[in-house]
């Protein structure tokens, strides 16, 4: 069975690196971007089944990245990451087509469950 391939986008490098390692241990191929521009470049050059996208980042925000993904009609599922105080951005993102949003700090099992849910939804 092919590994799930996911792109993690968050400006906190230590956070996203540790998360990628943990997903890798669980058999998920995780790639990392630490800003919106880098993420968009990676999305253009590679195929990911899921993008886990932090909403608030310096430079291009997560919602702007989502907007550009939509504009390019890139077919990939997006899960947003929000902190407390930014649930409205999570809801806004869902209106823009994100599958769902999760609050930081994450529970890794919740994230993996949501990723599989996202992939199944996309298949149906």
């Amino acid at each position: 069975m092919n590994k799930v391939k996911v792109l993690l986008v968050d400006d906190e490098e230590e956070f996203v690196s540790a998360l990628a390692e943990r997903l890798d241990i669980r058999g998920i191929e995780a790639h990392v971007a630490t800003d919106g521009e880098q993420a968009l470049e990676m999305i253009e050059n590679d195929t990911f089944q899921v993008i886990v996208l932090d909403v608030i980042m310096p430079g291009i925000s997560g919602l702007e990245v989502l907007q550009r993904i939509n504009a390019k009609q890139i077919d990939t599922a997006v899960i947003l990451l929000t902190g407390h105080g930014s649930t409205k951005e999570g809801l806004e993102g869902m209106r823009m087509g994100a599958f769902d949003y999760l609050m930081k700090p994450l529970d890794i099992d919740d994230l993996i469950s949501k990723m599989h849910e996202t992939i199944e939804f996309k298949k149906s």
Partner: protein, 221 residues
């Protein structure tokens, strides 16, 4: 009640909210790193069982304190956002629970148990329009008033409910070790009582003592 038209409180809240957000990011990083340590030791346990046990215990402590830190950060962040709007719809159950969380340390220092009423005892439907900062100040002042008059081993329960038909919060004290009437009188004689009355007046409410359920009743409408 507010300096520089409330801008001082707004400034304080804005900076505090931003810093709690930063703090929570730090905790998120520590959480993932601790999780990674746990994952790695599951794959490759330490060769020395004694050290493995100590490692596991230390990691469990890290995780417990992380959870504690995250809860505190969440509560503090919500508190920091209080000044965002000078007037908002305030849910009295949320108000009671938030002040209890914010005041818990003061109670612990006095060896007094402070708790919000359980869900089945609190009315979650009571909402009042008002200044969120002042409302929190009022409930906190009532709690502080009680804390300063109670000996150790007492219990304070903060409950949102209708009081004589009014939307209110009851700060009820148990295990008093003194007569309820004397306790209520000591509350009214305390330096915090006048401050409490001032704040309640500013939000069009009033404070009363209660001998039946010894403590303070805050009526918000």
């Amino acid at each position: 009640m507010s300096g520089i038209n409330g801008k001082d409180v707004e400034f304080f809240g804005k900076i505090t909210a931003s810093m709690t957000h930063e703090f929570k990011n730090v905790l998120a990083i520590i959480k993932e790193s601790a999780g990674l340590m746990e994952d790695i030791t599951k794959i490759a346990p330490l060769s020395d069982n004694k050290h493995q046990e100590k490692f596991d215990n230390a990691l469990a402590t890290v995780k417990n304190q992380l959870n504690r830190g995250m809860e505190l950060s969440t509560v503090f962040n919500r508190f920091a956002h209080s000044p965002d709007k000078p007037r908002a719809e305030i849910n009295l159950k949320d108000l009671a629970e938030r002040v209890v969380l914010l005041s818990d340390r003061f109670a612990r220092l006095k060896h007094i148990t402070l708790a919000a009423a359980p869900d089945d005892k609190a009315d979650k439907t009571l909402n009042i329009p008002g200044n969120p900062v002042w409302a929190q100040m009022a409930v906190y002042q009532a709690v502080e008033c009680c804390l300063n008059q109670l000996p150790p081993a007492c219990e304070i329960t903060v409950t949102s409910r209708r009081i004589d038909g009014h939307k209110g919060i009851l700060i009820a004290c148990a295990n008093l070790q003194t007569d309820a009437a004397d306790f209520c009188q000591s509350l009214k004689n305390s330096e915090h009582w006048q401050e409490l009355e001032t704040v309640m007046d500013a939000i069009n409410g009033r404070a009363q003592t209660s001998e039946a359920e010894p403590g303070i009743r805050l009526l918000f409408d």
